[in-house]
C-alpha cells in the first residue's frame, strides 16, 4: 500500500500539489490522470524519490520513505517505465534489461534465463532481439523491452510515466492489453500516469483525476463515468468520449467508388449513424465525388473491431 499524506509541493512559490491525500492499495493498477500541469508526474516521481514533497509524507506499507537511509534500497524494489522506453542506446536489449537485474546478484545464466523468459512473455523472440541495439527496434518493441526491464526483477511496484503516449494507436492498444494481462498474471501494484482519459478508463482498476495540483475525484472507471464529481471531470471525460466516426473516416479508409453524379446526398462531416439512416431509404449514397454502398459501411465497422 502506498499512502500519500498531506502532500504539497511548491516550485518557486507556486503550488504544484496541494494537500494530496491518497491511498493506493497493493495489487491495484492505479492511474493518475489529468491535463498537463495537474501534478500527476510530480506525484508519481515522489514514490521513488526522484522528487521530494515540500510538506507531507509518503508511506509504503507503513514505512515513511523519506526516512530510508539508502535511497537505492527503495529504488531497487520498483520498476520504472518512461515515456520513450529510455533504453540506453549503447547497450543491447539484453544488457538494457540486465541493468535492473544488476542489484539482484544473480548468476549470468540465471540472468539470461529470466531475460529470455520475460522477452517471450511480451512476444519478443529472445533469439532475434537479445543482441539488438535500441536503434534497431520499433517504438512498440522498444517499449516492450522497457516494460521487461521494469518487470524482470519481480518488483512489488511498477511506476509508469506516460509510457504509451508516444506510440502509434495500434501499438498503443496492443501494449495496453499486454499491460492488463501482465497485471493480472503478476499482481504487482502499478501506478500509471497518463493525460489520456480513454487510456485511464481502459487500464485502471481505480483512478484519480487531478487538476492544478488538486484531487478532483477518486474512483473506479465506472463510478467516474456514471457520477462525475464536478463539471471539470465531466468535461474531461466528455472530451475523451469515444468519437463517433464521420463519413470522412470511411472515405479515408479507402472505401467507396468514384461517382460522376454531382449532387451529394450527405456531407463528409455527417457521421456514420446518419449514413446508416440514409441507407434505409436508398442503396447508394453520394458523398462529394464518391458513391458509398451499405457494404462499405459494414467493411468499415469490421475494420474498427480488428483494430
Amino acid at each position: 500500500m502506498i499512502t500519500f499524506k498531506n502532500i504539497s509541493k511548491s516550485y518557486q512559490g507556486k503550488l504544484a500539489l496541494n494537500q494530496i491525500n491518497l491511498a493506493i492499495n497493493s495489487h491495484e493498477l492505479f492511474v493518475l490522470v489529468g491535463p498537463s500541469g495537474s501534478g500527476k508526474t510530480t506525484l508519481l516521481r515522489m514514490i521513488n524519490r526522484l522528487n521530494t514533497p515540500t510538506t507531507g509524507r509518503i508511506e509504503i506499507d507503513g514505512q515513511d520513505i523519506s526516512q530510508l537511509q539508502n535511497i537505492n534500497d527503495l529504488r531497487h524494489q520498483m520498476g520504472y517505465v518512461l515515456q520513450s522506453g529510455a533504453l540506453f542506446p549503447n547497450l543491447t536489449v539484453a544488457q538494457n534489461i540486465a541493468v535492473t537485474l544488476h542489484a539482484q546478484h544473480l548468476s549470468k545464466s540465471d540472468q539470461d534465463y529470466r531475460i529470455r523468459q520475460m522477452l517471450q512473455r511480451v512476444s519478443l523472440d529472445p533469439d532475434v532481439f537479445m543482441n539488438r541495439l535500441p536503434k534497431e527496434l520499433s517504438g512498440g518493441e522498444a517499449q516492450r523491452v522497457g516494460i521487461v526491464r521494469a518487470l524482470v526483477f519481480n518488483p512489488k511496484i511498477i511506476l509508469m510515466d506516460e509510457s504509451f503516449s508516444a506510440l502509434d494507436p495500434l501499438s498503443r492498444k496492443q501494449l495496453q492489453n499486454l499491460l492488463i494481462d501482465l497485471h493480472q498474471e503478476f499482481q504487482m501494484t502499478i501506478v500509471f500516469v497518463t493525460h489520456d482519459m480513454q487510456e485511464a478508463l481502459r487500464l485502471a482498476t481505480r483512478l484519480v483525476v487531478l487538476k492544478e495540483g488538486q484531487i478532483q475525484q477518486i474512483g473506479t472507471p465506472n463510478e467516474i463515468k456514471m457520477h462525475p464529481a464536478n463539471q471539470f471531470v465531466a468535461d474531461f471525460f466528455d472530451d475523451y468520449q469515444e468519437k463517433i466516426p464521420l463519413i470522412n473516416d470511411v472515405l479515408a479508409a479507402g472505401l467507396g467508388q468514384p461517382s460522376h453524379q454531382k449532387s451529394g446526398t450527405l456531407s463528409v462531416r455527417a457521421n456514420i449513424y446518419e449514413l446508416a439512416q440514409a441507407f434505409q431509404q436508398e442503396s447508394e449514397v453520394i458523398v462529394g465525388d464518391k458513391s458509398l454502398k451499405m457494404a462499405d459501411l459494414v467493411t468499415y465497422l469490421a475494420q474498427q473491431v480488428e483494430d
Binding site: Y80, N90, H102
Partner: protein, 506 residues
C-alpha cells in the same frame, strides 16, 4: 628538389630524432591532457556552476598566444621539454575538457532519469552509460587537441624542447628552405596522420576504442617517460648552441676534444637550442652545462657594464669574464681567434677597382648605395654610430631581411651591406669584408661559458676546451660556415676535419 633530397640524406638521423622527439612530446602532452581534462569533466558534470567556470578559464587560457605562455613559464620551470609540455597541455585542455563536459552533460535527460530511478551505482552509471554515450564527443575533443598539439609542438624548439620545430626555426633564421620544408611538411603530415587515426578509431566499436585508449596511454607513458628519463638521469655533460651552422660547428668541436681527452665523459650536444636568452637561462638553471657565447653579446646583452664597451678584443674578453664571474658566478674560458662581429662588405670587384680595404677607405668614396639589416640600421652602436665615427655617406640606404641584402649586393642593386664577418655568403658571393680599422664595433669572439661550480668540478673538461683557445681564423670560420650552411655538410664532419687537420684530435 635535388637540394631537398640532399638535405634529407645528410640529415636523416637528425630528422628521425626530431620526429621521434616531436611524437614523444605530443604523446606525453596529450596523455597528461587526457588525464587532467577527462577526470575534471567527470567531477564537474554534476556541478554546473563550477563546470561553466572551468570552461571559461580554459577558453581564456587558449586565447593567450602560445609563445607568451612559453615565455611566462621559463622563469618558473626553466627551459627544455618541461615548459613545452606544460604549454601544450594548457592549450589542449580546453577542447578535451569542453567536449567531455558537453558529452557528459548533454545526455538525454530521460536516460539520466532512468539510470537514477533504477538505483544504479555511480561507477556503473559512469562507466557503462555516461562515458560510453559521451565517447564520440570525447574522441572528437582528443582529435582536435592532438592536431593542435602536434602543430603547436613546433614551438617547443624555441625553448630547447627539440622536435620538428627546430628545423622550422633553423630554416627561418638561416634562410634554409630545405630545413623549413622538412619541419613544416613533416609536422603537417604527422598532424594529418594522427587525426586520421583517431577518426578511424571513432568509427569502430567501444571496446576497441577503450583498448586503443589504454594502448595510447601506456605508449604515451612509455615513450614520454623514456624520453624524460633518458634526459634527466644520465650523467653526461650537455653542450648547447644557438641557432645556425656556426654554433653547431663550435659545439661539435667542444664535444670532440672533450670526449677524446676524457673517455669517461659523455657529451650530449643540442644544436639550434634557442636564442641567447634561452641558452643563458638554461645555463643558469643547470639544464645545460656549457654553451659558446660571444664576448660582444656577453657585454651588451648579459652582463651590465658601466661606461663604454672596450673595443680592444683582449680588454673586451677580460671585462666580460670579470663581469660574468661577479654578476652570475659564471666561468668564461678563453676565446677562439676568429671574430664574428659586424662589418661592412662590398663586392670583391669593387674593392679592387676602388682600392677598398678598410671602412675608412669607403668613407672617401661617394655614389655607393647601401642595404642594411633593420636592427643594424637602427641601433646606435650599428650604422648611426658607424657613420658618425667614419663620416660615411651613401647615395641611398634601404633596410631589408639579412638574407636578401646579400642577394641584392650580388645582383648589383646595392653596393654595400652590413655583415657578420664569418657569414658564409661572403665566400659564396665572393665579397670583401672591410676592416673596422678604428675598432668601432665591439669585438665578437666565441668562448665557452659555464657555471663556476661546473668549471671547478670539471678541471679536465676546462683543460680540453682551453686547447681550442686562439684557434680558427675568421677566414677558416667563413669556410666552415660555407660548408655547413651552403653546401649542407654535417657540422660534426666539418668540425672533425678541422680538428684533425690542426692536430687538435687524433
Amino acid at each position: 628538389m635535388v637540394a631537398l633530397i640532399n638535405y634529407l640524406n645528410t640529415n636523416q638521423a637528425d630528422i628521425m630524432k626530431a620526429l621521434w622527439q616531436h611524437i614523444s612530446i605530443s604523446f606525453l602532452a596529450i596523455l597528461i591532457t587526457i588525464l587532467i581534462a577527462i577526470p575534471l569533466a567527470i567531477v564537474l558534470m554534476s556541478r554546473p556552476r563550477w563546470g561553466e567556470l572551468c570552461l571559461q578559464i580554459a577558453g581564456i587560457v587558449q586565447t593567450i598566444p602560445s609563445l607568451a605562455i612559453l615565455g611566462l613559464l621559463i622563469p618558473i620551470v626553466g627551459i627544455g621539454t618541461t615548459p613545452a609540455i606544460i604549454a601544450l597541455v594548457l592549450y589542449a585542455i580546453m577542447p578535451v575538457f569542453s567536449n567531455t563536459y558537453a558529452g557528459l552533460t548533454n545526455i538525454d535527460p530521460q536516460l539520466t532519469e532512468a539510470a537514477e530511478a533504477f538505483g544504479l551505482s555511480k561507477t556503473f552509471k559512469l562507466f557503462r552509460i555516461q562515458l560510453p554515450l559521451a565517447l564520440p564527443m570525447i574522441l572528437t575533443g582528443i582529435r582536435i587537441a592532438m592536431v593542435m598539439i602536434i602543430g603547436t609542438a613546433t614551438l617547443a624548439a624555441l625553448v630547447g624542447g627539440g622536435g620538428l620545430g627546430s628545423f622550422i626555426l633553423l630554416g627561418i633564421q638561416t634562410n634554409n628552405n630545405e630545413a623549413l620544408l622538412v619541419g613544416a611538411v613533416l609536422s603537417a603530415l604527422l598532424a594529418l596522420l594522427f587525426s586520421y587515426l583517431i577518426k578511424f578509431v571513432t568509427k569502430v566499436s567501444v571496446k576497441i576504442v577503450g583498448i586503443s585508449l589504454a594502448v595510447v596511454c601506456t605508449l604515451g607513458l612509455f615513450v614520454g617517460g623514456y624520453g624524460l628519463l633518458s634526459e634527466t638521469h644520465k650523467e653526461t655533460i650537455t653542450i648547447a648552441g644557438k641557432m645556425g651552422g656556426e654554433p653547431e660547428i663550435l659545439i661539435n668541436m667542444y664535444q670532440q676534444v672533450i670526449e677524446q681527452d676524457n673517455p669517461d665523459v659523455q657529451v650530449k650536444i643540442k644544436p639550434n637550442f634557442g636564442d641567447t636568452f634561452f641558452l643563458f637561462n638554461g645555463l643558469k638553471s643547470g639544464k645545460i652545462d656549457i654553451y659558446p657565447e660571444f664576448t660582444g653579446t656577453a657585454l651588451q646583452s648579459l652582463a651590465k657594464v658601466e661606461g663604454s664597451i672596450p673595443h680592444d678584443p683582449k680588454q673586451a674578453y677580460q671585462a666580460a669574464k670579470t663581469q660574468l664571474a661577479q654578476q652570475f658566478q659564471l666561468t668564461y674560458l678563453a676565446p677562439m681567434r676568429y671574430q664574428n662581429g659586424y662589418a661592412l662588405t662590398v663586392r670583391a670587384g669593387d674593392a679592387e677597382q676602388y682600392h677598398l680595404k678598410t671602412t675608412a677607405d669607403l668613407a672617401r668614396q661617394s655614389g655607393f648605395k647601401a642595404a642594411f639589416d633593420d636592427d643594424f640600421y637602427r641601433q646606435p652602436d650599428g650604422y648611426p654610430g658607424l657613420a658618425r665615427n667614419y663620416g660615411l655617406q651613401f647615395d641611398s640606404i634601404r633596410t631589408m631581411a639579412p638574407a636578401l641584402r646579400y642577394q641584392a649586393l650580388n645582383a648589383k642593386q646595392v653596393d654595400v651591406t652590413d655583415a657578420y664577418t664569418t657569414d658564409p655568403e661572403i665566400k659564396e658571393y665572393n665579397l670583401k669584408v672591410l676592416d673596422d680599422n678604428e675598432n668601432f664595433f665591439p669585438p665578437y669572439q666565441a668562448a665557452p661559458l659555464m657555471k663556476a661550480t661546473f668549471a671547478k668540478k670539471h678541471l679536465q673538461v676546462v683543460k680540453s676546451l682551453n686547447r681550442l683557445s686562439n684557434q680558427v681564423t675568421t677566414q677558416e670560420m667563413q669556410a666552415m660556415n660555407y660548408q655547413v650552411t651552403v653546401q649542407k655538410q654535417k657540422a660534426a664532419t666539418v668540425a672533425h676535419e678541422y680538428l684533425q687537420r690542426h692536430h687538435l684530435i687524433k
